[in-house]
Symmetry: C2
Subunit: 464 residues, 2 copies
């Protein structure tokens, strides 16, 4: 789906030229332009949007994701913004408006024509992830008393061509009462009422319902479109199956990445800091949790009773044991975050399985950052709690970044290796990797302990 | 989506009656019938299928998933099977035929009318997960020289109403050359050629391409339908967005569950043995891997050099250390398998987040089975390898089932608890659970060791 024209264009934009390419870029699909813009500097992005005609520019804006969209909006003059919003589907316009700062949004809404304003205000009122939030209001609805001829006329004038396979039928109050498919309209006597040929058994969904419910309904009943109604049954819009593709991809990404303890991160599109922040919360929970667990075991062991198996062990050695889960847990989590991000990236097309070099540096920088920060904090915490055992803080503080780095490296590369050898990366990246990282962490931890304890001449093992 | 009629019907089928409900069940959507049949005994399933008219029965058969479909086919007489196959979309018919034993399939294909036979033979030739495997061959195609009137006539007679929003245009050789949407046809001069009003810039996909590529294309370009062509550009069929919903759900389930080291399992629909087999391979890898790793560390430690930190430790204690990764790894894996299956089940609607009682027994039985089998094997292996330390085999053999049982319990219940307290189960089930199970396994292991070593009076700790 990458065209040579697009590559030329992006290159010329990189050099500050490109205004002469306006003709060529008009031929390229807006979705490809939006993707290509991710590789272009902000000034180039604005330049490209400027040379596109309104129709294409509105499509690009509607398809742009968060960070790109924000950048484009910042550099767009208000007059053109309004023109582009009017040219979009109202549901896309409502999404774009949501990205604007409050005052800019109000200014833009005030300049819209009344139809568009009503639609975006209505759509803006729904949660982003509700049925109302993903529907489009451009739906063909005919009254049940209208004739077949009049229904075909409405189809002829409709703006939305996506969901035209079926037309929804409403009563005088606007409530959804049925559905009539195109084949039926084309075959029916032109003068009979739509109500007499419609199917009255029509599934719909409440506008407040979760978008996941809409997706599940459409999957379960194999629908290409699902009408959306308000609490009293009035037809508000329609969800088409292509909207649901986005919903499903988004929900699946969310679930997969959250199971690996990271927010949704786009490994090629987002700043490293954003990705660090997405991954940090659960790593912190693991770090604090395993640290406290270690402390608890030590406290129980010291104050309540000495486990017979541990009896006779040197205090130094026992202290080492308390932090095994911390090292293993952190390495396991960082590794499975990296591998899960890769596996999901392969599935959504965001990561090229043939080019590990594009993502590896970023993942390693993140692993180093996570390792150093967590190593420093735990090392310091141990040195404070065990003020007489600062060597232990040093051991954990050194072993943790090493284990995390190895886990990040292995976690990133194993999915690529699997792809290379035609093993499903998802299969091999899960438990296999976790076990590998667990064992590696365990070996690294004890090796670091041996070296540091040897160097500092900490010992007394076995001397109870 | 559950109707009271359906519930009554299922109940009456359970009692061996229900033939009188034929009228009522005709009103129910085939997708709901297929779902409800999962709760009915095989004889009841066959009875229900028998009372449905051919149209509804063919829909149910087309929607039935693996184990149900197999059961239904076993009890279906060949004559009716052929009638139902002809009534289905050819892509569904091809999928159903694939489930039949070779001889039954050949017999059924021989009885099909020529059109259907050609379609299913063509479709059956494609990989199940290729674009050709998910497309339908019922596509409206018009020649570029035909008039608009003739194109509208073809639409009027079309069997497939799903993808009618746009009509594909082909040249005399059958190659795809363009697309014309319905609005355009309705507005065009009836006597001009379709070629003069069509859009020639049409995206298509090769029939051999992966279904994931089709899904990605449709998502990226926001398409409701995607034409499928063969190597020379001849139009073979069309993929509609609702087919892609299934593809995406299937692919996402595969990725999510494989990351957790289990094949696709349907926690409410499949036999326990099937689910055990799906989960076993990676658990075995973990078990053998961590066992060998433990042995390796011991061998290095015994034959190469004694780690200074371990110097002075009793042999018994050192032996205990070698199996920490095994216990932690197994508990971690079983726990994340259970939690991932729940999280995915919530997302696909297969597991009711309000009724943990429906799935908990199954998960616990599996955990017990996995725990006992792995405990016995590892325990025995240790007793063989360390014939003088059979107490160690006993410790690991007892601790492993305990840790795995706790992990299965916690892994199953945490997602339900998260749902209850409105935390995203995916978020909380990942690293949090892993850490929890790691710590629990560690504590269980040492506690079991204390009890068993105490009881057997194994000791000598600290006596180098």
């Amino acid at each position: 789906m990458e065209s040579p024209e697009l590559k030329d264009l992006v290159d010329s934009l990189g050099e500050g030229q490109g205004a002469h390419s306006a003709g060529a870029v008009g031929e390229i699909h807006a979705a490809d332009i939006a993707t290509a813009l991710l590789d272009v500097a902000p000034s180039g992005q604005a330049l490209l949007l400027a040379i596109l005609d309104d129709e294409k520019a509105s499509e690009v804006l509607a398809l742009a994701e968060q960070p790109l969209l924000e950048g484009l909006l910042e550099r767009l003059d208000p007059g053109r913004l309004v023109r582009l919003l009017v040219a979009m589907d109202p549901d896309d316009a409502a999404d774009v408006l949501e990205e604007l700062p409050d005052d800019a949004r109000q200014a833009a809404v005030a300049l819209l024509d009344e139809d568009t304003r009503r639609s975006v205000t209505l759509l803006g009122g729904y949660e982003h992830d509700s049925a109302g939030g993903v529907m489009t209001t451009e739906v063909v609805a005919v009254g049940s008393n209208e004739t077949v001829t009049s229904a075909l006329g409405k189809l002829r004038d409709a703006e939305q061509v996506e969901a035209m396979g079926s037309t929804f039928v409403v009563d005088p109050a606007g409530c959804l009462v049925g559905l009539v498919d195109l084949k039926c309209l084309l075959n029916a006597d032109p003068d009979v009422s739509v109500g007499s040929v419609m199917e009255s058994d029509v599934l719909s969904i409440d506008a407040e319902a979760d978008q996941e419910d809409a997706a599940r309904s459409m999957g379960h009943y194999q629908l290409t479109s699902l009408p959306v109604v308000d609490g009293s049954g009035v037809l508000m819009g329609v969800i088409t199956a292509d909207d649901i593709i986005d919903v499903l991809e988004e929900e699946a990404s969310e679930d997969i990445l959250r199971l690996a303890g990271t927010g949704v991160t786009h490994p090629t599109a987002e700043r490293l800091l954003t990705r660090l922040v997405a991954r940090a919360p659960w790593l912190s929970v693991t770090l604090v949790g395993t640290f406290l667990a270690g402390m608890l075991i030590e406290w129980v062991e010291t104050n309540w009773f000495t486990l017979p198996v541990l009896e006779g062990l040197g205090r130094e050695f026992k202290s080492l044991l308390y932090f095994i889960p911390l090292i293993g847990g952190m390495a396991g989590n960082v590794g499975s975050q990296s591998s899960t991000i890769m596996v999901r990236g392969f599935a959504t097309g965001e990561v090229d399985p043939l080019r590990p070099g594009r993502v590896l540096p970023g993942e390693l920088i993140l692993a180093v950052a996570i390792g150093i920060m967590s190593g420093l904090s735990v090392g310091a915490a141990i040195a404070v709690v065990h003020s007489d055992q600062s060597w232990l803080g040093l051991v954990v503080g050194v072993a943790l970044p090493c284990a995390v780095f190895v886990a990040g490296l292995v976690g990133t590369l194993v999915p690529f290796a699997c792809h290379r050898f035609k093993v499903d990366p998802a299969y091999a990246s899960g438990p296999f990797l976790l076990t590998l990282n667990d064992i590696a962490a365990y070996v690294i931890y004890f090796s670091v302990a041996v070296v540091i304890m040897g160097a500092l001449e900490v010992g007394g093992l076995g001397s109870a």
